[in-house]
């Protein structure tokens, strides 16, 4: 797909520019680009993410004009933005709710990738760059949540930075933690550097998104059948076919975003973050933002602190290896009856882990009876997390590798065109 160009400069000035800086050619070839003709709405989330990223950048830059990264003033400055700055009452929640919406979109985007085998050959690099984006998003979201300097901000920061103190002091655990803090506790220097990095990382994300889309333009999109493009009849140009479809999906997504932004702005935050940070008063229950909850559950599922941290990082690390762990030659799980069921179970497990992450480990999922002292007993959330964590890892390390070798896939259409027209039901 790469190599050919659809751009023919006509005027003299276009030719002159094209010979020196072929930027119009770049734009044209990005838009007039053959895409499979059968992409469904799950393929619109990449465009939705791009729009959300731009929205976060714009609102964030405006917020940074008024925000003060100082422990005595950060909380007040966020209130000042909400109460006194023109449109601040909209921009501040737009940025906060927007972060949640972006994670919602990215999770759908990633589940899509797993289900349709988009991570696999020849799209491994799209996936890996995607994973780098995801890591950057997690870091950005975490540091952003610290900035308003409420109770969950500081205590979230204390809990997460303390994870590094799980590394034994001999192996520089203490040194690393203090280096992150810029002192001996989460305090002013921590807040100031988090602000600096929170401003920097989104631009790294932008750079990575450019690589992501560049890598996408080599093999073109995967599609719901998982079959590679064979002839021109399998494709449509990105513009206008997918620009208009993406635009429609973006607007629908923005409606959901607007509903939360204007009518439920607090629903994705935590009430404790409306209490100014106080390092001497620990909240009853420290919870991260909803989009980290599954990983928080994995962290707490392991009794040993260091191993918990290892498990948590491994749960993200294993995703990098997905292109090679899914050994099936068939990309789309549409034609993989067993893999499909394990996949849906995996989605439920991720949701279950998120649920467990929001609860105290000793809370009960369900009650089976009472013990001798009259206390209720039953399945605790920490045990539920343990069971779900095992499935989480088994899905990648056992189920996907083995299934690819033993599963008998259903017959696939001969081509994308044939699947669309319903003319051919042969297998290949």
């Amino acid at each position: 797909m790469s190599g050919q160009s659809n751009y023919n400069p006509k005027t003299g000035i276009e030719k002159w520019l094209d010979a020196r800086l072929p930027i119009i050619r770049l734009g044209v070839d990005t838009m007039i680009f053959p895409s499979p003709r059968n992409l469904n709405y799950w393929w619109t989330f990449g465009a939705i993410l791009a729009v959300m990223l731009v929205s976060q950048l714009i609102t964030g830059i405006i917020l940074a004009m008024h925000y003060v990264p100082h422990p005595d003033m950060a909380f007040d400055s966020v209130q000042h933005i909400n109460r006194n700055i023109n449109w601040g009452w909209m921009l501040q929640p737009m940025h906060a709710v927007g972060a949640s919406m972006m994670f919602l979109a990215v999770y759908i985007h990633m589940f899509r990738g797993i289900y349709y085998g988009s991570a696999k050959n020849p799209r491994e690099m799209i996936w890996i760059v995607g994973m780098v984006i995801y890591l950057l998003m997690m870091a950005t979201g975490f540091m952003g949540y610290v900035l308003p300097w409420g109770q969950m901000s500081i205590w979230g920061a204390i809990v997460i930075t303390n994870l590094f103190s799980a590394i034994p002091p001999e192996a520089a655990g203490t040194a690393v933690t203090q280096w992150l803090w810029g002192g001996f506790a989460v305090d002013g220097p921590t807040l100031n550097r988090f602000f600096s990095l929170h401003y920097l990382l989104p631009f790294l994300i932008v750079g990575m998104v450019i690589l992501h889309i560049w890598a996408l333009h080599i093999p073109s999109n995967n599609n719901p059948t998982g079959i590679s493009i064979k002839t021109k009849a399998d494709t449509l140009n990105f513009h206008p076919y997918y620009t208009v479809k993406d635009a429609f999906a973006i607007v629908v997504f923005l409606m959901i975003f607007s509903y939360f932004l204007f009518f439920k702005p607090d629903s994705m935050g935590h009430p404790d973050n409306f209490i100014p940070a106080n390092p001497y008063s620990t909240p009853a229950h420290i919870v991260p933002e909803w989009y980290y909850l599954p990983f928080y559950a994995i962290l707490r599922a392991v009794p040993d602190k260091l191993m918990g941290v290892v498990a948590m990082f491994a749960s993200i690390g294993v995703l990098f290896a997905l292109p090679w762990l899914d050994t099936s030659k068939v990309r789309s799980m549409r034609y993989r009856p067993l893999a499909k069921q394990f996949f849906f179970l995996f989605v439920l497990v991720c949701l279950g882990l998120g649920w467990a992450g929001a609860k105290l480990p000793s809370d009960l999922v369900f009650v089976t009876g009472v013990d001798a002292d009259g206390h209720e007993v039953g399945l605790t959330f920490v045990w539920m997390s343990r069971i779900l964590t095992i499935y989480y890892f088994a899905f990648f390390l056992v189920i996907l590798p083995i299934l690819g070798l033993v599963e008998k896939p259903k017959p696939r259409p001969a081509s994308i065109e044939a699947s669309v027209l319903g003319t051919d039901k042969g297998d290949n």
């Binding site: 479809k245 409606m255 939360f260 994705m268 009430p271 439920l348 998120g354």
Partner: protein
């Protein structure tokens, strides 16, 4: 199937917020508030009475530091008067500000001095600092109330339940000295704030009977405004945005159908 699971996922992630709601103490009493729902607005008369309760009762111990007097006359605020788009001109706001004493300074000789409030002042803190506040309240700190209804789960109902929830302690329970029993309190069931509202504690200027229930509802209306003063503006804008996006979505869907008309997919 995929669709169903993903919609489940969306619902589950958004209700994760609600998972945190379970706090200590008794379940909140719920009220139908005027400000609830997509069309909700503040009941201005109730919020004005609520300000009176704050001023005459709560302000003795609790600050309201993010609220300036002129904010009380902003659009969507309890004392908004369309005749005075600039609240600094509003005589009601000027009169309220004048009732408070502000410590200003230093003056030319380096001394602090007292003067009556002006509309640009913030509502003053009853105590010089946090230590002074604790010293006057047996070591307990009366928190600033400007965000209180958002700083507690289900905050408006919580505040209403707290204010109307003082009871005699259950038989056999010994209260620590100076503490009152309140099963709704988020920090356990003993609170260092004695029941602030008693029958007829204020005399409402509009003649409403000042029952504990009435005063509690009114002060909740006022403090909910204080915590979210742009709510009316936000919801109004929200409707405009949603309707605009809906029409745009229709238009784009039409374009999508037109562009794809001759393509089987």
């Amino acid at each position: 199937m995929l669709k169903r699971i993903v919609s489940l996922a969306i619902i589950a992630s958004f209700s994760a917020g609600a998972v945190f709601a379970a706090g200590a103490g008794a379940k909140n009493k719920t009220q139908d508030w005027h400000f609830e729902g997509m069309f909700g607005t503040y009941d201005k008369a109730a919020a004005q009475r609520g300000f009176q309760v704050y001023q005459e009762v709560c302000a003795a111990c609790h600050s309201l530091k993010y609220v300036a007097f002129y904010n009380l006359g902003d659009k969507g605020a309890p004392f908004y008067d369309p005749e005075y788009p600039n609240p600094n001109d509003n005589p009601v706001i000027k009169a309220i500000a004048k009732m408070f004493t502000i410590i200003d300074g230093p003056d030319e000789s380096g001394d602090m001095f007292e003067r009556p409030g002006i509309t640009a002042d913030k509502i003053p803190n009853p105590y010089a600092n946090e230590m002074a506040a604790k010293a006057s309240n047996m070591g307990a700190f009366p928190p600033d109330l400007s965000l209180i209804t958002r700083a507690r789960a289900d905050g408006s109902n919580y505040l209403y339940s707290l204010l109307t929830g003082y009871e005699d302690p259950p038989e056999g329970m010994k209260l620590s000295p100076g503490m009152s029993y309140n099963p709704y309190f988020s920090g356990g069931n003993q609170i260092a704030m004695g029941a602030p509202l008693t029958e007829g504690r204020v005399e409402y200027t509009d003649g409403t009977e000042a029952s504990v229930d009435q005063m509690a509802k009114d002060v909740v209306e006022f403090l909910t405004w204080a915590a979210d003063p742009k709510m009316e503006q936000r919801k109004r804008t929200g409707w405009v945005v949603l309707i605009y996006l809906f029409l745009l979505a229709l238009l784009l869907y039409g374009s999508y159908r037109a562009v794809w008309r001759d393509v089987k997919h």
